[in-house]
Structures are given as C-alpha cells and as structure tokens.
C-alpha cells in the first residue's frame, strides 16, 4: 500500500472515529432495517431460510448506500478535493484508500447486522457455513468498489445523493444475484455456492481494474 493510500485511510478512519457521526446513525439505521424487515417478512415461516439471503443483502445494500453517499462529503466541504488534484499524489491512491475505508465501514455494519438477522430469523446454516466468510467480503467489495467510484461520478451531478443508487444498482445486479444466491445456497444447503463465489470473484476483479483504470479521468474532469 503506498504512503498516500495508507495516510488517507488512517486519516479517514481517525476522523470517522472522532466524529462518530456516521457510525452512530448508520448503526441505528441498520438496526431499524432489520426490525422493519422482520415485521414485513414473517420470520417464523418455513420459507425464511430461503428468503433470508435476499433480505440480508438488500438490507446491506441500502445501509451501504447511505454510507457510500458520505464518501466524499468531507472532501467537498472546503474543496479539499482541489488540494488533492493540485498535488502530485496519484488519483488511484486516493481511490483505493476511500474504497478500503468504505469496505471496513460496511464490514463493521454487516458484522453488527448479521447477528440481529440470525436472532430475528432463527437462522442456521445447513450448508458449509465457513463459505459465508468468503461470500461476505467478496460481495461487500463488489458493492463498495463500484459505490466509491460512482460516488465520485455523482459529485459532478446536480442530484448527487439520488444519482449514486441510480448508477450503482443496475451495474450491481450480477453481484447482487451472486451474493443472494450464494447465501441462500449456503443457508439452505440445497446446492453449491461455488459458482456464485467464482462469479463474485470475477466481478470484483473486472470492476476493480475498471475503477483503477478510469478513476484518474473522473477525478480530473471538471
């Protein structure tokens, strides 16, 4: 990790820890989502294990959009982004730092929401549960890498906060299908999640490369 990436990541984590703005509101939002879902979709029903995969990832998706919208908020406040653009620091270092920061943040959210889901839906994995530990980071990175990129694209638009999900959701559909199907496969134990894990890995590689290749163009567009 380059010096700039590390410095940016540490700075973001430190600022996040200090203000605890986003953390507190996100946590509460995540809890609310789980509760609302548990009222909307009867958790006692037999089918709960089949739909839990979908519910969990939809909940993560909406929670992460709220987090992703904040990605560049601090940089926009005092036009700090201009200071970055004027410096010789490479654009990709900034991108990687922001993406990693978002990744850590959303993983924390997931770690807190998942037990709530398990409790509310009495979930138990009938398939290999360890695979969930592979699916979760792959799926989260898929959302976060594109989310961070599209958040940067949205900066140059008028309806910034709605633009992000507008751009992110269509592009994320294969990843969402992969995450949900893999989780459902693992929870229900009915089929193998292996293909979906490969799909998620391919998705991650393709779009990480695309983001790294095109971020500089986006950052320096006026």
């Amino acid at each position: 990790m380059s010096g700039v990436t590390r410095a940016t990541l540490i700075k973001d984590l430190r600022l996040e820890w200090r203000s605890k703005d986003a953390i507190n509101s996100m946590l509460f939002f995540a809890l609310l989502v789980v509760v609302v879902f548990s009222f909307s979709f009867d958790p006692i029903a037999e089918e709960s294990r089949r739909i839990a995969g979908g519910l969990i990832w939809v909940a993560f998706l909406f929670a992460s959009v709220v987090a992703l919208n904040e990605t560049w908020a601090r940089e926009l406040r005092n036009q700090v982004l201009d200071a970055y653009r004027v410096s010789p620091a490479p654009a990709n270092s900034l991108f990687v730092a922001k993406a990693l920061g978002n990744f850590i943040f959303v993983c924390v959210l997931e770690a807190l929401m998942a037990p709530l889901f398990i409790v509310f839906y009495n979930l138990r994995a009938l398939g290999p549960a360890y695979q969930l530990l592979i699916v979760a980071p792959l799926g989260t990175w898929a959302l976060v890498v594109n989310g961070t990129f599209f958040a940067a694209l949205s900066i140059r638009t008028r309806a910034r906060e709605i633009m992000l999900p507008l751009l992110l959701f269509p592009i994320s559909i294969p990843a969402i299908l992969g995450m949900v199907s893999a989780t459902t496969a693992i929870l229900s134990g009915e089929n193998s999640a292996r293909f979906y894990i490969v799909l998620l890995a391919v998705y991650d590689v393709v779009f990480t490369i695309a983001c790294l290749a095109l971020f500089e163009t986006v950052l320096h567009a006026e």
Binding site: L153, R156, T157, P170, P174, G178, Y196, L199, L214, V218
Partner: protein, 285 residues
C-alpha cells in the same frame, strides 16, 4: 444527406407497412400459440436493434475516451485488431456453443472490428459523443418496446407476466436500467466534461452485460424457469418475416437516429457560435 431524407422516409414507411402486413397477415399462424405469437415479429427485431444501438454507444464511448490521449488511441486500435483476429481464429479452433455456426462467430468478430474502425473514421472528435447520446436515446426506446412486448406476449401464452430467470428478458431489463441511468447522468450532470463521465459509465455498463448474462444463466440451471419466447428451431417462412421486420426496424432506427444526430449537431453548433460571439465582445454584459 438532407436531400435523401424524404426518400428515406418514404422507403422506411413502405418497408414498415410491408413488414406489418407480413407479420399480421401473411405469416403463417403458429401451431401452439396462435395469433398472439405475431407479437414476436416486433419483440425480437426491437431487441436486435436495441442491442446494435447499445453496441454502437459502447464503441463511441470507448472512442471518445481513448481519443483524449494519442498513445492510448494507438494501443486501442491494436487491441481491437487483436480481438478480431483472436475471434476469427478461435471460431475454427474452439468448438462453438450449440446451434451457432463457426462462420457466424468469425463474421461477428470481423464485424466488431469493422464497426470500431468505421466509427473512428466517420465520427471524429466531438461527433463520437453525439453518436453516443443518439444511440443511447434511440436504443432506450427500442429496449422499452422489447420490455413491453415481452410480458404482453408471455401472459396469454405462458400464463405469467415475467420470469426472473428468463435470461434474455432479464438481461434486457438490466441493459435498459443501465441506459436509463446513463441518460439521467447526462441530464443531471453539472460538469463541463459530461461527455467523459457518460463515456466512463457506458464502459462500466458494457463490462456489466456479460456478467449479467452469465449470472442469470447459471441461476437458471440451478432453478429451472419457464423460458419465454421458446427456443429451438423456427419455421423458415417465419424467419423470413422476422428478417423483413428487422430490416424495416433498422431503416426506422436509422431515420430517427439520423434526425436526432442532426438536431444535436445543430444545437452544438449554435452553442459554439454563441460562444464565439461572446468571445468577440469587447465588454462583458
């Protein structure tokens, strides 16, 4: 070109009328589905036209992006040539999927390269961006037709409006969503470099489409779903009507796209002229 427009309009009208007649009257009635099946002659050509237009958008967007740096432009040319050659060779080396002719794959590879270099030649500079806007807009229109005719066809025949595992319809829906997002991005952009940002999104969309296709394909093999639109072979007479309709649609798409293109070109020239006039002012207003 302007002189050709009325002639083209009349030809298109004639073709569309002929195609309509063929589809609704002359084509043989389908054995199991009956007359409802005739919507197929609108559903499929619209899809092919939409895909062609979106492919043109992808090529135009890539062109716009690589042209900003001459070195990257040259590399991109070689990459496209390389891909075309690889597809041609691959078509005869690797066994193609079922139902697909080797020559078809090779022709597709050549066509892709030909389209890339044609766009490069015919749409220099800013024109590639105009092509991108036009193809996105007209493509969305045709894509909407596909998405409306699909369920209209499916409901009476298969009893359901929609099947999430239907690979073609769902891929088309995602493509439609991506391009609606593309058009919204263009509309809401407050940047001076809207063209660049939109082109970046188009590239992301293009990368996404194969992934969508494969993800749904595998989902279907695990969860068998009804296939809307049927598979398998098609009566040659029906194929003929299908192609007639496709040609008519292509003419129509060309007509509409050309009009929109001219409109955009004129709009930008007006802006440029107004900008030039502003420059010449000796005092600010």
């Amino acid at each position: 070109m302007k002189r050709w427009f009325p002639i083209l309009g009349i030809v298109t009208l004639a073709l569309l009328s002929y195609a309509l007649y063929e589809a609704l009257v002359a084509a043989p009635t389908e054995r199991t589905m009956g007359d409802v099946q005739r919507i197929f002659y609108y559903h499929v050509p619209s899809a092919w036209t939409a895909f062609l237009l979106f492919f043109l958008n992808f090529v135009a967007s890539i062109q716009y992006l690589v042209r900003r740096k001459p070195g990257v432009d040259r590399i991109a040319n070689w990459i496209v040539l390389g891909i075309a050659v690889a597809i041609c060779i691959g078509a005869y080396v690797v066994p193609p999927p079922a139902g697909v002719e080797r020559s078809a794959v090779a022709t597709t590879g050549l066509a892709v390269a030909a389209i890339y270099f044609l766009v490069r030649k015919l749409f220099p500079g800013d024109r590639a961006d105009i092509l991108a806007v036009v193809t996105a807009e007209v493509g969305v229109v045709f894509c909407t037709i596909v998405l409306i005719t699909g369920p209209l066809w499916a409901r009476p025949v298969w009893g359901i409006w929609w099947a999430p595992g239907d690979i073609r319809l769902t891929s088309t829906l995602v493509l439609w969503l991506i391009y609606i997002a593309y058009l919204m991005l263009r509309k809401f952009s407050s940047s001076g470099n809207t063209a660049v940002i939109a082109a970046v999104l188009a590239v992301f969309g293009a990368l996404d489409v194969p992934l969508v296709y494969f993800s749904i394909w595998f989902f279907r093999t695990q969860h068998p779903q009804p296939v809307i639109g049927g598979g398998g072979s098609i009566d040659p007479r029906m194929m003929q009507v299908l192609l007639i309709n496709w040609v008519a649609f292509l003419f129509f798409a060309y007509l509409v796209s050309w009009s929109r293109y001219r409109l955009e070109v004129i709009k930008r020239e007006v802006e440029r002229a107004q900008g030039m006039q502003e420059l010449m002012e000796t005092r600010a207003r």
